[in-house]
């Protein structure tokens, strides 16, 4: 089913949400970042268990003719491996860089994604990344929004990329 719903600042060109086209774009944007920056082929998967146990979360806000939050969630071990691949060093030598790396990955995915949406790139700003460590938190979406999610297998570890859109 194709859903069409506008997400826009009224002063900016409108963008129509389309789950069927936006979900593959989110997947592609994520895969490109991992391919280029980590030299890793991400494998999309249908579903992954363990989301509630993902200890690391990176959030990047989008504001403009689309508004929302892009998040990437994974285990501490997965984040450490990501940082090691970005920096070209063994995972056991990665220190606090794993948090920074996860935030930067989220930032690049968000930028890559909005760049692929026709008419969005010039009218949507990104926030600096926010990192959450731990699982004892709740998120609450604003009413009327839509969510798209892409799930991946990264080095046999689950990875969730979610875009929550606000009206």
């Amino acid at each position: 089913m194709t859903m069409t719903q506008p997400y826009q600042d009224s002063s900016l060109p409108g963008v129509m949400f389309d789950r069927n086209s936006w979900t593959p774009l989110l997947e592609l944007s994520t895969r490109e970042v991992f391919d280029i920056m980590l030299c890793t082929r991400l494998q999309p998967v249908e579903q992954q268990k363990g989301l509630s146990e993902a200890q690391f979360t990176a959030l990047v806000g989008l504001a403009g003719n689309i508004c929302g939050v892009l998040s990437i969630r994974c285990s501490e071990e997965a984040a450490r491996v990501m940082a090691s691949k970005m920096l070209g060093m063994p995972p056991d030598e990665v220190d606090n860089d794993s948090l920074d790396a996860l935030g930067e990955i989220a930032n690049m995915i968000a930028g890559n994604f909005k760049g692929k949406l026709s008419g969005v790139g010039n009218h949507c700003m990104l926030s600096v990344p926010t990192i959450i460590v731990g699982t004892d938190y709740e998120t609450r979406s604003l009413s009327g929004g839509n969510t798209i999610e892409a799930t991946f297998d990264f080095e046999r570890k689950p990875l969730w990329v979610t875009l929550e859109l606000h009206d």
Partner: protein, 126 residues
């Protein structure tokens, strides 16, 4: 090729390390790289340090990359330093603004080492 004194401005320490590695992979002989987490910190480091090349993110706290470039251009002894933007903010309007403010080039994240080489060597006349 003589040693290049580079400054990398990015609020991500991981990204600063990746950019430095890419510059070395591009064949540049770098003297110790100056690092700053935002534009204001970078301006402070430029006061008293000789720099041949600046690579700067745009989206940073405190002072963003566009304001940093603008301020660099207002200082006689700094405006000759080539600034290349490296950012996820790859929109055309940001490219136009950065270049109009005085940036010499623009690299969009995610990037390959070859892209860094392609954009950086020409601004150094190499």
């Amino acid at each position: 090729m003589s040693q290049i004194k580079a400054m990398i401005v990015d609020d991500s320490s991981v990204m600063r390390k990746i950019v430095e590695r890419s510059l070395r992979q591009a064949g540049l002989d770098l003297s110790p790289v100056l690092e700053a987490g935002n534009g204001a910190e970078a301006l402070g480091l430029l006061d008293g340090n000789h720099v041949d090349l600046i690579l700067s993110d745009i989206n940073m706290p405190v002072m963003d990359g566009l304001e940093f470039v603008r301020q660099v251009q207002t200082v006689d002894k700094l405006r000759h330093i080539p600034v290349v933007m490296i950012t996820t903010e790859g929109s055309e309007s940001n490219v136009v603004q950065a270049l109009s403010l005085g940036a010499k080039g623009y690299i969009r994240k995610p990037f390959t080492p070859d892209q860094v080489k392609e954009h950086v060597l020409p601004v150094l006349g190499l």
